[in-house]
């Protein structure tokens, strides 16, 4: 059964503080040294449990049209106008720059000096100086719909994501689904290359020295320090006829190893990238999640059917893994780690059970607790003191007498106060979530609900902030407490919320700026 992605929170990777929760997007962890997780395959190939237990765990989502923020600016791509709008924070001054045809994605570099758009119809990338708005456009290969940016902002990889909702402009001539385009945004050069069928995700090492592109049957490693970067393709399966497809790829922070989790496999494929050495290490039955500990020293795999956690020492990933037994009566398939690495939260998005468990890494103690509804996603605040549990509308084991029956819900859990919880009934589906870097507040938006919801992590209280129209994306300006929400409006609308003053400022119609002549 093909299942689309619905929700993801990546609390431990705070480099990007806004996330989307839309159905049908490809799953992709944007942080360096993180993981790429494809759940779009056939879950029936994994596991031997009941119907629910054959479902893949649902993890993160990535969306293209979210604005991109720096500490001083918010960049909004306007695909219909072929422009990018820069909104200064906090003055909210708006300036628009022309880029290539149909910019469907915009990203900012970690040093906040540049913004980059991928212009789908023009088959190009525009590199924009954040201060001067000087634009350089570089052509790329056709037939792409996604863009990934290296941590240092120098490298862009454009690729075709088969799970993307983004519709591509019509093209003529031959098409390939094996290619990517590598763009050097400093020297403004373009290097096309073939990496393998169906590129599923792109990872950069934290130092931006290497890039890894995982496709159905290959991992392509690109040395970005080479004078002429070229892919080193490594086959990840010995089965040449019907290889298991990669479900998740995890790159270690130092870029030495890539872990590949495949459908139906009971082993993980570990690749030592420099040597192109491919080995397999044991993992329990039906591994459904693979993550790094926040210190980057260990990888954690959740074997749902085996009811085990497998921990791999990344200094020697081929060494025997440590195994932690999970409660035999529970089925947990996903894990999120607290930022300090002292605790993990275990849950399942597939089994429709209203429970989660805390895992204390120091003692390996596992404690199971109940929830008002099954889990759609769990995230942790940047301080790790508060957990957010998003619940689906589907009821699972929720009794029909529950106030939450047939409703979306959200639970805030204070992890510092005996896991005290405040469940909230929601009028509609959450579609976006962000939290401030200081860990004081979280923000989320819901489908067709003109509210910015503010969560106070210290008190577990919430506040409704009325918006002028329905929100589309939500985020927090980096290194500040200022939250933003883009909203539905023909000519563009952004609101900025200052939680300290309670002021909400809205700018509307900024796409008109593309038509100003002077």
């Amino acid at each position: 059964m093909k299942r689309t992605l619905s929700l993801f929170l990546i609390p431990s990777l705070a480099a990007c503080s806004d996330y989307a929760m839309r159905e049908g997007d490809a799953a992709f962890d944007t942080g360096p040294g993180g993981s790429w997780d494809n759940d779009g395959g056939d879950g029936a190939s994994a596991g031997d449990g009941g119907a629910g237990e054959t479902e893949p765990e649902v993890e993160d989502s990535f969306f293209a049209m979210s604005p991109a923020a720096t500490t001083a600016y918010l960049f909004v791509a306007n695909p219909d106008r072929d422009t990018v709008t820069r909104v200064a924070v906090p003055s909210l001054q708006v300036i628009t720059a022309e880029v290539g045809d149909r910019p469907i994605a915009v990203a900012t570099t970690s040093d906040y000096r540049k913004a980059v758009t991928f212009n789908e119809a023009a088959d190009s990338v525009s590199v924009i100086d954040a201060e001067t708005l000087t634009v350089h456009e570089i052509g790329v290969r056709g037939n792409f719909n996604s863009m990934s940016l290296s941590p240092d902002g120098r490298w862009v990889i454009c690729w075709h994501d088969p799970n993307s909702d983004e519709e591509e402009s019509s093209s003529s001539g031959a098409q390939s689904y094996n290619e990517i385009s590598l763009v050097d945004t400093e020297n403004l050069t373009h290097t096309p290359m073939v990496v393998g069928f169906n590129p599923r995700g792109v990872q950069f090492t934290a130092d931006s020295v290497s890039a890894v592109v995982a496709s159905d049957a290959y991992v392509a490693v690109i040395d970005l320090t080479a004078a002429s970067p070229a892919p080193m393709r490594i086959a990840i399966s010995e089965d040449l006829i019907d290889p298991p497809l990669a479900e998740e790829v995890l790159l270690t922070p130092d870029g030495r190893f890539a872990f590949v989790r495949q459908f139906g496999a009971e082993e993980l494929t570990v690749i030592e990238l420099a040597e192109a050495r491919v080995e397999r290490v044991a993992v329990g039955a039906n591994p459904t999640d693979l993550d790094l500990t926040p210190d980057g020293l260990r990888a954690v795999a959740v074997a749902r059917d085996a009811k085990e956690l497998w921990l791999y020492d990344l200094a020697d990933p081929f060494a025997e893994a440590a195994v932690v037994a999970l409660p035999p009566t529970e089925s947990f398939g996903s894990v999120v780690m607290s930022p300090d690495g002292s605790r993990g939260l275990l849950f399942s998005t597939a089994t429709q059970t209203s429970r989660y468990a805390s895992w204390e890494l120091a003692t390996d103690e596992i404690t199971v607790r109940s929830l008002v509804k099954p889990v759609r996603a769990i995230g942790l605040s940047p301080t790790g003191e508060t957990a957010l549990v998003f619940h689906p509308k589907d009821n699972g084991d929720t009794p029909s007498t529950s106030a939450f029956y047939n409703h979306w819900a959200l639970t805030m859990i204070d992890l510092t106060d005996d896991f005290f919880a405040n469940p909230l009934l929601l009028p509609d589906e959450p579609i976006g979530f962000a939290h401030s870097d200081d860990g004081e507040r979280g923000y989320f938006i819901m489908e067709d609900q003109p509210w910015l919801e503010v969560l106070e992590y210290q008190t577990l209280l919430y506040e409704d902030i009325a918006l002028k129209s329905n929100p589309v994306h939500v985020g927090v300006v980096p290194e500040s407490t200022l939250a933003w929400a883009s909203q539905e409006h023909d000519l563009g609308r952004l609101s900025f919320y200052d939680p300290d003053s309670g002021d909400l400022q809205t700018i509307t119609g900024f796409e008109l700026n593309s038509g100003i002549e002077y």
Binding site: Q93, D503, G509, I516, Y518
Partner: protein, 515 residues
């Protein structure tokens, strides 16, 4: 049609020697138009529809004709400083250079030429040419520059000579006569100026342009929509006191456009309803927005541009500003029986409600801002008894803003004119009523006992003169104006001025090639 027997000649000499038909002359139009009165510093100017002339009546009772070099007046307007009169005029031309009279010219060669004359002291100071269809003017605050535009709603007809550019506006330097025409967009009929007079903002359908008033060049063009099929028609606009932002309301929309003229950016502020009126208050440094359909006034600050609503009992559509307050009232449909005047205090932001006897049609403030005087119109809901009596008649509303008291007087007949006067001795309203030959002087401190000032001929209108006196026009075919000195209620008269320039012939005023 007016027939003048020669026996009515008022002049010492006989200027009618050229009249045909044994001394009987039939006029197709009145000798003067009392409604055309324009008072500037040197007198009151009236147009003369019968001969296209222009006459100035001085306050000492004398009068002068204005020589327009054979042209006839189309319309007039005072300059912003009240020093000069702008005259749109036209004259006959013939393409045949040999033709000296109109009768010598073939019909297909006969035409009109249009010009604008600047008049002061009954003489033409400056003549300039602008496109004939530009029928309205606005002036910079210092009165040195005029912008002529087409107001289609008030255009009797649009003179077309070959082609007409309906996107055109003309900037005129009133000191030199230099003209610069700019394409400002379709139906460009709303022009506002920055307080420092450095730039003009011209609003047209779906776009706004900014013009540098030093160079008369377009510096920025703002779109109000990116959809070519959509029409966005501005209805009102104002600049913030610092001149940086233009705030624009558009027809049928809850959107308030905020144009940053410095950074060149557009923001749209979403209102809860379609605003009826927008007014920028320099003293409050906020913009006031009122609504027909919402019982509140919104105060829009000029920093974060947030709306601060102040509740009212019902929607209003009009605003009048004093130095530290605004008066709000509903001037729309009589079927909305809204009789309140709201006083919004700028310091406390408190709203005081005054309930008048009938709906307010118009409202004026005295010079000291101590009194507000309004014309009250009959209510659509007349009721019965004494309420019905009052509701079915026009009235005069007086609000004492210092003592927070209001009085509603019932008028015998519809008012035809209202003027306010205030000096050390008191504050008065001068009211002309239809069908009455006297002028009512209402002491605003004691409005219930008006004084009647007798006039010999029924009045048709009243207006203020720059020197503090008032002029009253009368229904007299040959021209009659009374001057009222409110300090002693003395009245002087000027008459007979309408016959000036009555003699006409069909000589072409300017021969071909000499225009």
């Amino acid at each position: 049609m007016i027939t003048l027997p020669l026996a009515l000649v008022l002049m010492g000499c006989n200027p009618w020697d050229n009249l045909p038909d044994n001394g009987q002359y039939t006029l197709d139009a009145p000798l003067w138009d009392p409604g055309s009165a324009v008072a500037i510093e040197d007198g009151i100017y009236f147009t003369q529809p019968s001969n296209g002339g222009l006459v100035r009546v001085r306050t000492d009772g004398g009068f002068d004709g204005v020589d327009l070099d054979g042209a006839e007046v189309v319309r007039t307007t005072p300059t912003a400083d009240g020093q000069r009169l702008v005259v749109w005029d036209r004259y006959r031309t013939c393409k045949d250079p040999e033709a000296e009279k109109i009768e010598d010219c073939d019909d297909d060669e006969l035409g009109w030429s249009y010009e604008v004359s600047i008049v002061k002291d009954a003489a033409v100071e400056l003549v300039t040419e602008i496109p004939a269809h530009l029928n309205r003017m606005v002036f910079t605050p210092d009165g040195s520059i005029a912008v002529a535009y087409l107001d289609y709603d008030s255009a009797e007809d649009i003179p077309v000579d070959g082609v007409v550019d309906l996107t055109q506006v003309a900037f005129i330097d009133l000191d030199t006569g230099a003209v610069a025409s700019i394409s400002a967009g379709f139906s460009a009929n709303n022009i506002i100026f920055s307080l420092d007079g450095s730039r003009a903002v011209v609003l047209s359908r779906s776009q706004v342009i900014v013009v540098d008033l030093e160079t008369f060049e377009k510096t920025v063009e703002f779109p109000l929509t990116l959809d070519n099929d959509q029409q966005v028609d501005p209805t009102s606009a104002a600049l913030t006191p610092d001149g940086r932002y233009a705030l624009i309301t558009v027809a049928g929309s809850k959107d308030l456009y905020k144009l940053d003229l410095d950074v060149k950016a557009i923001d749209i502020i979403s209102l809860d309803a379609v605003p009826a009126r927008l007014m920028v208050s320099p003293s409050l440094d906020r913009t006031l927005l009122v609504y027909n359909t919402e019982a509140r006034v919104d105060l829009l600050d000029h920093d974060l541009f947030n709306l601060d609503p102040q509740q009212l009992d019902h929607g209003v559509s009009e605003m009048v500003e004093g130095e530290s307050f605004a008066l709000l009232y509903y001037g729309g449909s009589a079927y909305n029986n809204r009789m309140d005047i709201y006083h919004l205090d700028y310091e406390s932001l408190e709203v005081t409600e005054y309930v008048m006897g009938n709906p307010v049609e118009s409202l004026q403030l005295t010079a000291s801002r101590a009194f507000a005087v309004g014309i009250l119109r009959p209510s659509a809901y007349s009721g019965s008894g004494l309420d019905g009596y009052q509701a079915s008649r026009y009235g005069l509303g007086v609000v004492d803003l210092l003592n927070q008291e209001e009085v509603s007087l019932v008028l015998e007949s519809p008012p035809v004119g209202l003027a306010l006067v205030e000096d050390d001795g008191g504050a008065y309203a001068l009211v002309l009523l239809e069908g009455r030959s006297d002028l009512l002087k209402v002491d605003l401190r004691n409005p219930s006992q008006p004084i009647s000032l007798e006039l010999e001929i029924p009045p048709t209108g009243i207006g203020a003169l720059p020197d503090g006196r008032f002029f009253i026009t009368h229904a007299s075919g040959l021209g009659l104006v009374s001057f009222l000195d409110p300090s002693d209620d003395s009245i002087s008269v000027a008459s007979g001025f309408a016959v000036l320039g009555l003699q006409t012939d069909d000589t072409l005023p300017r021969l071909a090639g000499q225009e």
